[in-house]
Amino acid sequence: MEIFITGYGMISCIGSTIDESLEYLRAEKTGIQLGAFEALPQYRVGVVPFSNDEIKAKFNISTDGSRTALLGMVAAKQAFEGHKLNDSIRTGLISGTSVGGMDISEREYKNFLEQTNHNPANYKHHASGTSSEEIAKELGVTEFINTISTACSSAANSLMMGARMIKNGLLDRVIVGGTDGLSSFTISGFKSLMIFDDELCRPFDESRKGLNLGEGAGFIVLESEKSLKLSGKKPLAKLTGWSNASDAFHQTASSPNGYGATISMQEALNVAGLQAQDIDYINAHGTATPNNDLSESHAIKTIFKDAIPPFSSTKAYTGHTLAASGGIEAVFAILAIQQGLLYPNLNFSTPIEETGLIPQLKFEEGKTIKNVLSNSFGFGGNNSTVILSAI
């Protein structure tokens, strides 16, 4: 059974529509800025330049929610545009998030600690599951709602869960992806791990020092063939491969040889029925931390050997959008397939000495891109790979 993709939407620091995002990609221009997150202005981060109230007004959102939920609504609504809810198409929503309503909770918890104006009602948006219920409400989806929370691989795992639910005959159509609003909690957390780069991040570069955080949401719509006939939508691409594997090495660090990443890429190829040489572009996880990029480079070399296809990390454009990244990068994969695009790995100059890999350096159009492999790796050694393919 084939899984068709019939909608896509994203919002991040490089734009709140597909077209705006494409302009940044084409211009090789980052959305990461110093001081973009008001509460902690000393960091270089990728922020959607609207307040929660502005998001609601600008995108005609009628459901209340945290920043995570609101960003999710923007992207999910874009993805679902032109789709109609219909009793004969069982439709679900599966969203990945790592922080849920933390942007609101952390403000409220500060009030609690300072014993000023503490309003417990504001915690009603806290739970990650609630953010998905709020997104589903905005879309009118009621049949099935699920939230995956596996840190930075959450959205990729939502794609996988959605595809499996269709294959298992439990849903006909499912909106899948991820969303994370930036919070002081997350920024302070990554700061405590000492994996920030004070400058713009440099994925796969020998001089890389760490990541820049971002925020956003990316969603796509998956449909079965039966659903496609009823919805009348034209497929943009197919989701052909997926896998999740455990690195089982360390709670936050990847194994030096990228064992979990190797399993997840190989299994995704197996699910898709593809060989490594069938992949035309790899959208790497590529966070620009010394550990991830070395480990992922080894895993890529293990799978692709001497014939490594063009690869890049797009995180130097958007920042690392955590649970949203696999959703946003799935949108990039669809665009790559549809328009024959290759995205540059910004800020690269010197290959990692140990592995010598050179990523895609320029924005290119007019390529033939049939299969894109996209990696997302999270805390807890949670390694996921999805493969998107041309119709």
Binding site: G129, N146, L170, F185, G260, I263, G381
Partner: protein, 305 residues
Amino acid sequence: MYYIHSRASITCQDSFRTDNVCEKLVVIDDTSDVVSPEYKEFIPPASLRRLSPVLKMGLTASIECKNQSGKDFDAIVVGTGLGCLKDTEKFLSTFLTSTSDFLSPTAFIQSTHNTIGGQISLGLGNHAYNMTHTQNSVSFEVSLLDAMMCINEGKKNVLVGAADEKIDFLKEVQPNLISADFPLCSGASFFVLSPEKSEVQVKAISTTFSSENVLTDIAAFLDVHNLEMEKIDLLLHSNDGIEEHVTPKDAFNFLDYSGFHYSASAFALHIAHDYLVNEEKEWALIVNDMCPTNIGIMLIQRDEA
């Protein structure tokens, strides 16, 4: 077929390594606390100091399941309603009050929901599929659904469970973050699901996210599975009102024994399993309407042959 092969619960009951948990159940109150096993039998001392209650409970219950089944898991699926609350609160307090540029990362690292699943994979050296679902009161049900799909896809030994922890702050934010008429509690229940035959199987599961009336949902579910309530030997529910309208052979509210937390229905599955085996009955129905719009229904069957 989705057979239950191992089970392990750490709860406010004397439930861990207990042959028949039903014999041990006592109604809990506000003073009830988790009956902790000897964690040091399962977790090395250095880790033990670092791990929060929900991590210790989830990891220990999983290791116990592994010990019971003796087989490596080919999938690990974890549900949690609110995740690692203690470490989340700890890191919130730390970064909101600290003036230092250097914070300890431990609480942050352990605050993400999938730390439970991650610790299980690390503790067992397991490289398989590892998923974490969080959907408020039906987090266990969506996890069980995933585990059942894993079996459909050919996996043989699937660890599935759910864990949630109580922190004092939850009382401050009732009824906004969590709305409960029962004492709050922590709990973790894990199972091994397999297509290979055992005495008790999960026959069916359903989730509803826009329920208007739980009784209608129960009736529709039973209808789909060609069953009548009169045939149900044990109904476990989370809402005493249900009992006024239906007539199973036996029924009780599982929250009286689990306390209120979003993983409570996982413990209800453990209770249902032990009840069917020890009473030699056939059917148990678990109706979770801890959140009135989101309903989970599980049908459990003991093979009489």
